[in-house]
Amino acid sequence: MAELKYIEGYPEYMYKLMQKVHKTRQKRKDYIPKPMSMKEQKEVLNLHPDYAPGGKRKISIGQNKGDIAPDPVVDLLEAYPLIESKEIDISSADYNVDVLVIGGGLAGTTAAIWANNEGIPKDRILLVNKLRHGDANSIMAEGGTQAADREVDSLKRHYIDTMGGGHFTNKPDVLRGLIEDAPFIIHWLHELGAIIDKDENGNFVEKWGGGTSIRRLHSCKDYTGLEEFRVIRDEFRSREIGCIEHYPVIELLTDGKNRVTGAVLYNLETGEYKIVQATATILATGGFGRLHIRGFPTTNHYGATADGVVLAYRAGAKLRDTDTVQYHPTGAAYPIQIVGYLLTEKLRSSGAQPVNVDGESFVFPLEPRDVEASAIIRECYIRNKGIKTPTGLRGVWLDTPMIEEKNGKGYIEKAFPGMNRMFSRYDIDMKKNPVLVFPTLHYQNGGVETDPWGHTTIDGLWVAGEVSGGVHGKNRLMGNSTLDTMVYGRRSGISAAEWVKSGKKQGKLTLKHQKRYVEMLKGAGIKPERRSPILLPEYRGKKALARMIDVF
């Protein structure tokens, strides 16, 4: 292949194609396609990776036997544990606590703080992290947090928007909790000192989100999750609550019946295991982006490998909505170094439009995410109006210069410093030129079923955040995930603390549930070829892996 000539960060041929976007901008400024009718939405959703044939199958064992889930998720559920009971000594605990929180993103950290607020002493709470405290999807959330706190808005409206976005499959009482607590969460963040965007009158700047009928999105530039998390982690650290890092949980412990009583931790660096005995356990391990479902790149952090779902399922908890996966409509499609990275929906709510190779705006920019993503796939693979990158990916333009066309010069640097910085590292000026986008694997819509206090179907176990299922139904709306982490982090922390304070004694530590699960695996004829949780994805080069030997 001849050496490519680059202009303003793009190969010459892409740069030439891009001129159509510039030419049509003025025309598109006042012409925005209408939102799709529900019929049109249904039609285009056939192209969504969840609904297109292949890539999924029925779960063959356990509580959710017969439910559909993506192949990589079923692979992990139908896998053998990392440890066998005879290999480890669980007769005494290395840590003994009232509340064990597994996972240190926004949900877990919020849970620990609220358990502490409810009277559980700092040294009776333990937060364990697979990686560092904060290596989580939370910190990468860009766009914002929804809360119906404007006078023209209402809780009911937030509820209806979210229900519709979730195709009316959300669990009503759990969704109600999310909506009703939302304004309080914004208040709590403000009290902690989070810097939320305000206008000149001191009111919050509230933005559109895909699928919402009103502006409801609170943001902190395009570093919303980072700002929320920094503040909450600083509060957590100020309280000196127990915290250990690089210690993933590889199995939950139960009393052999229907109660979680602790966990087995694994020191990623030394290989040593530790036993935690806990009266209450809160699982806040996040989602599964790093499973690369249907071969998609992902916006998720390195540790998003579905550990929590696997652990809870093995302990006997029920899952729901395992069949749906959220693909964010606008992942970066060029350059190769950032493929799959998140380009926040807030870009579209600030005026950026998806545009095809002919310079046409082909979809309303703020459809619910599954609809928007499907429309982009249709444009690229059915209508053949995408743009092909040098590495063979297809994408459509996201006309970012339109943002300044609508909001004035200097707006991008002020509102999107993170995006702007990311592209400038690759010599692309998103203020001047559009960027190329294609859907990317973003969010685990379903997960462990809960009640409105985050409690699962087994005693002693709560879940919060992305690992849970029900609140978002089959498709989450923008700005409801950071909200979910804090609402249900707080609710599970309070509920777990109340349970402890009600005088619950600690339970016996056993791996009986695991033994039962292994028997089910054998009964279903599943061979011991896979083990889970996988903890981390595999990205080592094939050449290097082929020659690896284990000496120590």
Binding site: L45, L131, R157, G193, P297, T391, R421
Partner: protein, 262 residues
């Protein structure tokens, strides 16, 4: 959800094929490079040892290509979490450079080491008990006064923040400038590692931003009002009712929503 039973078998086959084509196109990103397709190679030196790696990788993906399985020095992989701080020097250059491994492309002759952890003091405080006052910053971080304005912190910042400027703003008690200039900080620790005065810039900024966020402008009235309404139970009946609606009723309400004016 999409219409069921409408698509013909032929169409189903096509859609499966499209999914496979998408997966095929993303293969390089998802499951690693295929050597035969790589045209340009560079040599990097990880803690002194040389590895030949594809030229279009980042430090992070290049080290993985070379066989490293990260358990430290990696987090979000997208420039937000600050886990993969890296120091490097290029052969023949005097300059010691910094970057996030996930955000920095490999270059030929790079000698690099990761700094996955920064030993740093983080004092305990209760934001409710603090004054909105520069003395608070000096109480918790007295070493602030040792800043010699050498600008090494600014040069070290992988986010290109004006770190020294925000430290100076902190010293002067200019909370607004401190908050604004430090807002994009990912707390990677590189400034603190390089600082000759042993200031932990990012923790100072964290305290400063919390004070600014909490005390500089009051909570908006519209939020206060909404909280009051919720407390009074103004929406209880309505919410109770809406959670009982059938799917059909909800669908109708959803379809009839009136979009707020742009």
């Amino acid at each position: 959800m999409p219409n069921k039973g409408k698509s013909s078998t032929k169409k189903k086959l096509d859609l499966k094929k499209i999914m496979d084509r998408i997966a095929e196109a993303s293969k390089q990103v998802v499951s690693g490079v295929e050597e035969e397709k790589v045209e340009n190679w560079v040599t990097i030196h990880v803690m002194g040892r040389a590895y030949e790696v594809p030229a279009d990788l980042t430090i992070l993906t290049a080290m993985e290509y070379a066989g490293y399985k990260f358990i430290r020095g990696v987090g979000c992989r997208q420039g937000f979490c600050g886990a993969c701080s890296t120091l490097y020097r290029k052969k023949g250059e005097y300059k010691l450079q910094t970057g996030m491994a996930c955000q920095t492309r490999v270059e030929d002759g790079m000698f690099l080491v990761q700094i996955p952890f920064t030993p740093a003091e983080k004092p305990s405080y209760d934001i409710n008990d603090l004054n909105y006052d520069v003395n608070v910053l000096f109480r918790y971080y007295p070493e602030l006064a040792r800043c010699v304005s050498c600008n090494t912190c600014t040069k070290a910042c992988p986010q290109d923040l004006e770190v020294m400027d925000y430290v100076q703003a902190a010293i002067k008690g200019n909370f607004e400038e401190l908050a604004e200039e430090s807002f994009d900080c990912i707390q990677c620790g590189l400034c603190a590692i390089r600082c000759p005065s042993e200031i932990v810039q990012y923790n100072v900024a964290q305290l400063g931003r919390r004070l600014y966020g909490r005390y500089d402008s009051p909570e908006p009235e519209h939020l206060k009002k909404r909280l009051e309404e919720i407390k009074e139970g103004k929406f209880d009946e309505e919410m109770e009712k809406v959670t009982k609606h059938s799917r059909k009723e909800l669908e109708q309400m959803y379809a009839e929503r009136k979009r707020e004016e742009e």
